[in-house]
């Protein structure tokens, strides 16, 4: 156990709080101190230290010492600034939501709050969660706590880059993220932490600023697999306010961490061995396969034939939904308004100034693929392909229980790279997008280091609503990988 409280895992802190070794206020103060030192990373858009201390104090008062507390009681976390938080500025990383303080709390952040979690602040993100490098935020780039060998600043991945950097730099014990095409898993991989995208419908979307409604899903970003299980338990659950939220009961995910995967069938999809994937990533994947095999799993070669269409399909479906979801930011009721001569002028001025380039690009793409005369060729076709992608997975799960793949095709890259080429940027999500399209749960965990000493993640993909098996396998993989490298930022601190 670390002697710095902010460096604890949730499960360690849970034990310490329960034993009375320290209080939530002390834990929170430690995080606030780390948060101040890590400001250079720009991981937070809004810090809420007073609110955090208030909630930590309340948590300490609630704690009875009889072990009955929720797993998240007194745990300081960062909340991605896509979750609406009552009375606290909520920006979605966009200029267009200037000054917007919701009068309501998103279901997921409220579940955590009710469970006793202490919010430290709102984590930076790509604008409206659109990006894979956290370089599209109106509030500036987030810097990865890991450093390249040449000392250049690296991107933390995206869109939950602030959350990932905040966890990796130990300014919090964990953070919420959201994942539409890889926005939890890819930054988790880039920052050397654990990122879980649950099954679509497992967590309520109510109160989360929408990007692509049929894909968006909240999930935990944590230091360990166990922490992920503890935190997801607090976040998940049916919500009558979200018609797409699943009525399925939430199992005890932590209890699934048995460490035993004997006989578990692990699928290795041939189509994920893509041309151009760096050798070190392929090697790590083989290594992961071997670890699972050594632990008693059965390795099965599988095929997901429509994988190659997933990214293109995603970049039709997600922008289409986004183009409608972002129509409400019109300057009429809240956020930024840039006046004009007429209503139409006001719309154009507000949206022209309020949205960044990437968001505008996606709105345009989305409007285009839904247009009369193009709908059938793009949106409708994409939905048909999406069905085929789901079928690929269903067929595979006849033979296997989980699927192992790399999380991302590279380690974190330098800020400035890939920025002039949106397509190269979109390729970051090539391994994570198919899972999202099928609505399946996927978890990324750090499994090794690149040749330049940067973390690399492996992804496990599970059956719908079978996060338990996913956690069981992830727990074994985590133990085998024994990832213990520490980012430069923390080392130097």
């Amino acid at each position: 156990m670390s002697n710095k409280l902010n460096q604890l895992t949730i499960s360690e802190a849970r034990d310490g709080l329960e034993k009375g070794d320290f209080t939530s206020v002390e834990l929170t103060e430690s995080c606030i101190g780390a948060m101040e030192k890590a400001r250079g990373l720009n991981a937070y858009i809004t810090e809420t230290p007073e609110l955090a201390l208030e909630r930590a104090k309340a948590s300490d008062e609630r704690r009875s010492g009889d072990g009955a507390a929720s797993g998240m009681e007194g745990i300081p976390i960062a909340v991605k600034d896509l979750f609406c938080t009552e009375g606290v500025l909520t920006t979605a990383g966009s200029h267009i939501l200037d000054g917007y303080k919701p009068v309501y709390e998103s279901t997921v952040s409220n579940n955590l709050r009710q469970g006793g979690a202490v919010m430290l602040g709102k984590a930076n993100l790509d604008e409206f969660a659109m990006g894979s490098a956290n370089i599209t935020s109106y509030y500036g780039n987030v810097i990865n706590p890991w450093k390249a060998t040449d000392g250049k600043d690296l991107v933390p991945g995206g869109s939950s880059g602030g959350s990932a950097a905040a966890v990796a730099s130990h300014t919090c014990l964990a953070a919420t993220g959201t994942d539409t095409g890889g926005s939890i898993r890819q930054p988790a991989s880039f920052c050397g932490i654990v990122g879980m995208k649950p099954t679509y419908g497992r967590c309520s979307r109510w109160g989360i600023v929408a990007f692509a409604s049929s894909l968006d899903q909240a999930g935990p970003m944590t230091k360990t697999v166990r922490d992920s299980a503890i935190m997801l338990n607090s976040m998940a659950g049916h919500d009558p306010k979200d018609s797409t939220s699943s009525p399925k009961a939430t199992p005890n995910f932590e209890a699934a961490l048995t460490g035993d995967i004997k006989g578990l069938r692990v699928g290795i999809p041939a189509e994920y061995k893509m041309d151009g994937t760096p050798e070190e990533i392929v090697k790590l994947w083989d290594q992961g396969t071997q670890w699972l095999k050594d632990a008693g799993a059965e390795i099965v070669d599988i095929s997901l034939p429509h994988t190659k269409y997933a990214l293109a399909t995603y970049y039709i479906v997600a922008p289409a939904e986004a183009s409608a979801n972002l129509a409400r930011y019109d300057g009429v009721r809240y956020g930024l308004r840039v006046d004009g001569e007429s209503l139409d002028d006001m719309y154009m001025n507000t949206r022209g100034e309020g949205f960044g380039k990437e968001v505008q690009r996606r709105i345009l793409m989305g409007a285009y693929v839904l247009s009369a005369g193009y709908y059938d060729a793009y949106y409708k076709k994409a939905q048909q392909v999406r069905t085929l992608i789901s079928k690929d997975f269903n067929d595979a799960y006849e033979k296997v229980d989980v699927i192992l793949t790399p999380t991302a095709p590279s380690a974190a890259f330098a800020i400035g790279e890939k920025m002039d080429d949106p397509i190269a940027m979109y390729l970051n999500d090539v391994f994570t997008v198919p899972t999202s399209m099928a609505g399946l749960p996927g978890i990324s965990l750090p499994a090794g280091l690149s040749s330049s000493g940067l973390p690399l993640g492996l992804q496990l993909i599970g059956r719908a609503f079978d996060e338990e098996t996913l956690y069981r396998a992830a727990g074994v993989l985590e133990t085998a990988a024994n990832f213990s490298a520490v980012p430069a930022f923390v080392e130097g601190a």
């Binding site: 109510w206 929408a210 018609s243 409400r328 247009s371 009369a372 709908y375």
Partner: protein, 485 residues
């Protein structure tokens, strides 16, 4: 009944289709818990969703679904157990999401029919294309501030049923009959209050013309948000003439949306097809397909009230009313209920006659509805009882009716106080009869000489002499006996 318009080159017929928006009767909006009450201060009935706040999600109001199904059943329409909500994308300041949630290619209700009543015993069946559920927009107010527009979202998100007819209508009269019949049906069903002046029912009128005998569908124009039956009829008249004049001059009709100006009964262009929005419809990913079971539909069917068509048939077969009278009585549910209360245990034809000719005349004159009638069904019934049991004559009853309105008293009291009781005492009648016979020997001779219709004149004289209180039947019988033997 055909409505044929004479042009310069040929005769034309009009092809009309209606899209009627009916506000669903429900306590809460289609996707939010906010109230649907009419009135209230601006933005009183707005919840987080209605304001389009970030992260808010729609949840379907089951009551609205039931109402749509109920309406579909009332239109004898196909009910679709699976339907889909779509987003219709366009920007307007009083539409907070930047899209309307509506149903596009998979509506909750499919094809149905409405039977139009076009005068005495003349009916025509008109096709309903579909009914779908959608949200209403808010209201922009441009007259509250010199430079700004204000927005009231009270109506934003209120459930509407859009009922689309087939292009089956052929005249302004049919348009009027369609709207009145549809309003009658939704009021019977309790699914829409049908008040066009409050905007809870409004219609878009699509008009085109074609040469008589042709089956083609020519370019149409659409008049949006017409808010009365009369205006809809006027819009058709004007628009049909406009099309014919353009065709006569060798011109072409442009497909466009036009505005009906009720101040002068004309239409003018609002936006052309080129300016028309591309709504970019797609299924709303926030709402799973709307699926319900046959049992759900059957439960609603089991609670359907008797509808105007069935009620009319019952009045004809059970009460012996004419189709025409029955049609008038059933058109408004409240009228029919009133009639049945009056007719209960009484002569139904007499009740129908009194209600249609006397009561409706009075109400029309005073601009009142049946619910505001100064004469209750109970009192009108008692008045009819006085006629039936020969206490008063039908003529005296008319006077009593007037006095009931003036005094607010019940008919028995009036008859008693004013001494209007019919004279059934033969002795008293005989005295009057004898007096009249004695005073008119020349007319007696005429009757006896074969001019029997003159007996009516004698009856009138006797009635006059008795201030109308004599029983006309008894007078007639006695006169016949005395004059003709």
């Amino acid at each position: 009944m055909s409505y044929i318009l004479q042009g310069e080159t040929c005769e034309w017929e009009v092809v009309i289709g209606l899209e009627v928006h009916c506000q669903v009767v429900s306590n809460a909006k289609l996707f939010s818990g906010a109230s649907t009450d009419f009135g209230g201060e601006p933005n009183d009935h707005v919840d987080l969703l209605d304001a389009g706040l970030p992260g808010m999600l729609p949840v379907i109001n089951e009551v609205c679904v039931e109402q749509a199904v109920r309406t579909g059943l009332g239109l004898k329409a196909q009910i679709n157990n699976r339907s889909v909500f779509s987003r219709k994308n366009y920007f307007y300041a009083d539409m907070p999401f930047g899209y309307q949630i509506t149903q596009f290619d998979q509506p909750i209700v499919g094809e149905g029919t409405i039977v139009l009543e076009l005068g005495e015993g003349h009916y025509r069946e008109v096709g309903v294309e579909r009914l779908h559920l959608e949200t209403d927009a808010g209201k922009s107010m441009h007259d509250q501030h010199p430079t700004k527009s204000f927005i009231d979202l009270n109506r934003a998100g209120v459930a509407l049923m859009e009922i689309v007819s087939k292009p089956d209508l052929r005249s302004p009269e049919e348009v009027g009959a369609y709207l009145r019949k549809l309003r009658s049906i939704v009021r019977y069903l309790g699914t829409c209050d049908g008040n066009m002046d409050e905007g809870s029912m409004r219609c878009d009128v699509n008009v085109s013309v074609r040469p008589v005998g042709s089956e083609e569908l020519r370019t149409r124009c659409e008049m949006k948000n017409v808010n009365s039956v009369r205006f809809a009829m006027q819009a058709v008249e004007y628009e049909a003439q406009r099309h014919i004049e353009i065709y006569d001059e060798g011109g072409e009709i442009k497909q466009e949306t036009r505005l009906f100006d009720s101040s002068n009964g004309t239409t003018r262009s609002m936006r052309s097809k080129e300016e028309a929005h591309d709504y970019r419809y797609f299924p709303d990913p926030d709402l799973p397909p709307l699926v319900f079971s046959d049992e759900f539909v059957e439960q609603i069917r089991a609670t359907l009230p008797e509808l105007p068509d069935e009620r009319r048939e019952r009045y004809v077969s059970d009460y012996g009313l004419s189709e025409y009278d029955a049609g008038i009585l059933v058109a408004e549910k409240d009228n029919a209920v009133y009639f049945e209360e009056v007719a209960k245990g009484r002569d139904a034809k007499l009740a129908a006659n009194w209600i249609i000719s006397t009561l409706f005349g009075l109400l029309k004159k005073e601009g009142k509805s049946i619910s505001e009638s100064p004469i209750s069904a109970d009192r009108l019934g008692k008045l009819l009882d006085l006629i039936s049991n020969d206490t008063i004559s039908g003529r005296i009853a008319k006077d009593v009716f007037e006095m009931m309105i003036e005094t607010g008293n019940d008919p028995e009291t009036i008859v008693e106080e004013k001494g209007l009781k019919q004279i059934t005492d033969t002795g008293a009648i005989e005295g009057a009869v004898d007096e009249i016979i004695a005073a008119n020997p020349d007319k007696v001779a005429e009757v006896q000489g074969g001019k029997e219709q003159l007996i009516g004149w004698f009856v009138g004289q006797v009635m006059k002499a008795t201030q109308g209180k004599a029983n006309p039947g008894a007078v007639n019988g006695m006169l016949k006996k005395k004059l003709l033997g």
